[in-house]
């Protein structure tokens, strides 16, 4: 059994009856919980047990451990990307300040929803596939942010993608920082305040410099 997680595959079997759909959901949910509880030491057996099914069932829907983890990662990423995209779209045409505020709120909230799980996921997904999934998500989020910035009522950004990318990574860095220092809610709030200041200052500077 290679330690390198195998190439990803579609679920081995597509759910046909209602109960199997529920089973797949239970497995994915269980995977997150085990990840939260045990970090990257999770085993397929333990995930199955937590889901209330047997290992065999797990392997009926996921050809291997890697595929399971990739699916979980993908779901998480989709959640964050959806939240950010929605927030961005709702802010088209607004002034920059309101944009940054909404963007940060959406991002932080989405990230902190399953933050510890997300970190464990990042750590696990060190095969190429995990990187690709993260990258696709980044691309999507950057596009959403850039599109929003382009419609700002009180500023214009010649290179909105560059600005969006910088913002995204700054948000990600600060979020991760708070998580890894594993401090409390106060740290999160303080971070969000500083992040807002940071974003406003940066966007203002970009406008002034014509970036």
């Amino acid at each position: 059994m290679p330690r390198t997680l195998a190439t990803p595959l579609q679920p081995r079997k597509t759910p046909q009856q209602a109960r199997s759909g529920a089973t797949v959901d239970a497995i994915l949910e269980a995977a997150i919980q085990v990840l939260l509880a045990e970090g990257s030491t999770l085993t397929t057996t333990r995930v199955a047990a937590r889901a209330g099914v047997s290992v065999g069932t797990l392997y009926q829907y996921f050809p291997n451990k890697g595929s399971l983890l990739q699916t979980v990662l993908q779901h998480h990423m989709d959640g964050v990307a959806d939240a950010v995209q929605t927030a961005c779209e709702s802010m088209h045409g607004q002034p920059v300040r309101r944009m940054s505020e909404a963007l940060i709120a959406a991002f932080v909230q989405a990230k902190f929803r399953h933050l510890d799980a997300s970190v464990a996921l990042y750590r696990i997904s060190d095969d190429v596939q995990g990187k690709q999934i993260a990258l696709r998500m980044h691309t999507r989020v950057i596009a959403a942010i850039a599109a929003m910035l382009s419609t700002a009522s009180d500023a214009s950004f010649p290179t909105p993608e560059l600005v969006a990318e910088t913002l995204l990574h700054a948000m990600a860095g600060l979020s991760r920082g708070v998580l890894e220092s594993s401090q409390g809610l106060a740290a999160k709030t303080r971070m969000q305040t500083e992040l807002t200041r940071l974003a406003d200052a940066y966007l203002g500077s970009c406008t002034a410099a014509g970036i």
Copy 2:
């Protein structure tokens, strides 16, 4: 053998003769190279082979795999912290703009020195110890940045730790972003430019707001 890496221990044996010191160095160097080449799938046997010694020798100096990885991580962190600290100390009493420029240059250079290895290390160190090592380094770097900021000739920061923490995590986020997108040198340069803009804008805003 538990998949959870054991609690860290000092090297099992302290080098007494010259050759064993060289052996330890070779093992640590080999660990980095294997990490670069294979990511977290590294095995103790492969590390030993690359170092040109046998596994038994490795286990004479590191009680287990986790201890080896922790040592490597610690060395990397020390390198980054040293670089940043030196840069900060050399900028005491300077204007803020020069400070941020020097800080960013030092950080980016140190991080990119063994960047891919550092990412692999982050991923591996998911036991508590790894978090602690990273945290100690963060604390040290934040203190150095805060101390520097306090001496700025053209601004004053009532809460320099908060500002330093924000800066550090922003730098870390942007650096990581560039790495994970695995683009070329151009991306790194662009990032550094934007990071400088970001830092200057943020520090200016902090000064204005009295943060």
